[in-house]
Amino acid sequence: MIYDEFVTQIEGHGRIYFDIKDGKVVEARLEIHEGSRLFESFLRGRRADEVPQMSSRICGVCPVPHNMAAIQALENAMGIEASEQTKMLRRFMISSQMVQDHALHLYVLAAADYLGVTGISEVYAKFPDAVKRCVRIRTVGNRGIELVGGRAVHPINSIPGGFAKLPTREDMEKIAKDFKAILNDCIETFRLFASLKCPDFERPTEYLAIDDGKHFPAYAGRLVTNRGLKVEAKEYRNHIKEVFKPYSNTKFCVMNGHGFHVGAIARVNLFKNRLNPTAKELLRESPVKFPSDNPFHNNLAQALEIVHYAEEAIKIAEELAVKLKDEERPKPTKAGTGVGVVEAPRGTLIHEYTVDKNGIVKDANLIIPTGMNTTNIEEDLYALLSANINKPKEQLKRLAEMLFRAYDPCLSCATH
């Protein structure tokens, strides 16, 4: 029964296989056994206006970014220019998702690794205050998504052109207060994770995130890396290649033949100067400095982002509390192909669709953050296992799984 071999406390089904001979790592594989749901196939033939909701079903943990990437791609395909207000509301939804989702990963999935316990029940029994903090943070994050998107898991009313229904100014004022009320919990989360000890490990790699020229990465932008890549999102196919591995239902991604890293650590490494003030202040007092080449620091970067995105949500909500207004939704002006990019909690997410003149989707391609990270994870595994080669096999297994978990992988997404 393979189920019992799957790595626990991660989204989706996969395992790590490694083989050591004569004191050397001869094989280290990330085997992903998630069933293939074939989203790209069955999204063909659907109406463009139903695709954003259907795409969100790729992931129940991070539905908002899928919904947003699909909308952006469809708008680009159909020549729809979303208003500034619409883009602000979308950044608000992504910020809310980040807060909620990072808290879920840190407290419910990753915390056990650092606190030396086996799982959620034990965390609940031994660290009740942390669990309560997590619930408070997630409740407000969910409320933010619900307020604008209609529902926290699988948003409903965010569609190409804007929203089927808008919140009110009073709603925005109230949610700003809610986010303010949890800001201290977010700060405490960062301090907690900054105080926990990470395995000592470093491996320089290429970090990718999106850049809209202004904001810390969230909604739309060019693809940029720390090694000088700077291209329009629609050129992604020239740089990111998918490779089939016989042991994985997820296709692995490479850039120029090697692995690269997306996610919180990539965003903080690349754009720490654009963090909001409290997050920036916390970074100054942090014992860990960014840019960091220790993949375990992704968890600390997530904790930092909880603070940043909560501040971002407050900023946007306060602005909209005074200027939100009803708007006409722009209509499609053409048929064609479009690419959408957003930052999901786990990293840069790319959706691409071709829409015909009847508004029916003809082609779909999805590049998922965990899919992008796969090659980098394997490269890290080799290096991490090699550096700890003398440890007992059971300890190596735990360390390898902890590394995998630090990436906050989502294999449901990655395989889709």
């Binding site: 989204e11 293939s36 196939s41 992931c59 539905p63 669990v131 619930v135 209609g150 898991v153 089939f244």
Partner: protein, 251 residues
């Protein structure tokens, strides 16, 4: 003694498990039960007799097929969690496609190396005692079923369509605006989040018992194309009874 609970996820988005974590009830669940098997939540998991096993997701691979049979053998009560388990879920749309072509589109020349079974609803594979429907489930349904089971009561089924939820929210009727809506035939109790957000019901909870399906289809034919009607029911519960026939000769 605390009830022994297992939560299993098959191929899916894990959004229903997230809804469990989102439930206000989570405190009482964490304190009140013993999780014997819960891959997403803990490292150490055991196979022993489960008082209740929740199964989320669709059976897409042959090891999942073996797994659900094993879970059934170990469980006093099996609850199907969410529409992937109850009705095959969104991925079952591919049941209605040329599956070879569908795989080739995603995996190219490696398509044959990817295993995808014809996706059956869980109750067609093993005996399922209760279903918590929806894509995603609503936390209130989870809370109600769990409280009932732990109190030794048999959870009751909702008997009203989504329209009743929708009316009680005071929403304008989508059908009266000529928007195709599955509300009249869909199993209610969700609180009608979709019409409340300005969108039609897309039938994610499957049909209620004895729905007026032919009347619904007659009505839809007046306002929507055949393709749009098929798309409405072939979405989140495409293998649900009656919904799966839409698009066949009956339409």
């Amino acid at each position: 003694m605390k009830p022994k609970v297992a939560i299993f996820d098959l191929t899916d988005c894990e959004g229903c498990e997230v809804q469990i974590v989102n439930s206000k009830f989570i405190d009482r669940v964490l304190g009140g039960v013993e999780f014997v098997h819960f891959r997403l939540g803990q490292r150490v998991n055991r196979w022993e007799e489960f008082d209740v096993a929740f199964i989320e997701g669709a059976v897409i691979t042959s090891h999942e097929l073996e797994l659900v049979k094993k879970i059934r053998e170990h469980s006093k009560i099996v609850v199907a969690l969410g529409s992937c388990a109850c009705f095959g879920g969104i991925a079952a749309i591919s049941n209605f496609m040329d599956i070879k072509e569908a795989k080739r589109y995603v995996y190219g020349e490696n398509a044959d190396k990817i295993e995808t079974l014809y996706i059956k609803p869980l109750p067609e594979i093993i005996k399922v005692d209760f279903m918590i429907r929806g894509c995603p489930i609503v936390p209130e349904d989870f809370e109600r079923v769990v409280s009932d089971l732990f109190a030794g009561r048999i959870p009751r089924e909702h008997t009203r369509p989504v329209c009743m939820d929708c009316k009680s929210k005071g929403n304008p009727c989508q059908l009266l605006k000529n928007v195709p809506c599955a509300g009249p035939v869909t199993y209610g109790g969700c609180g009608a989040p979709c019409p409340s957000a300005g969108m039609p019901c897309d039938g994610c909870r499957g049909p209620l018992e004895e729905p007026q399906m032919s009347a619904e289809l007659e009505l839809l034919k007046k306002i929507a194309s055949k393709d749009d009607i098929v798309r409405l029911f072939r979405k989140y519960a495409p293998m649900a009874p009656l919904f799966k026939d839409v698009g066949g000769e009956k339409l």
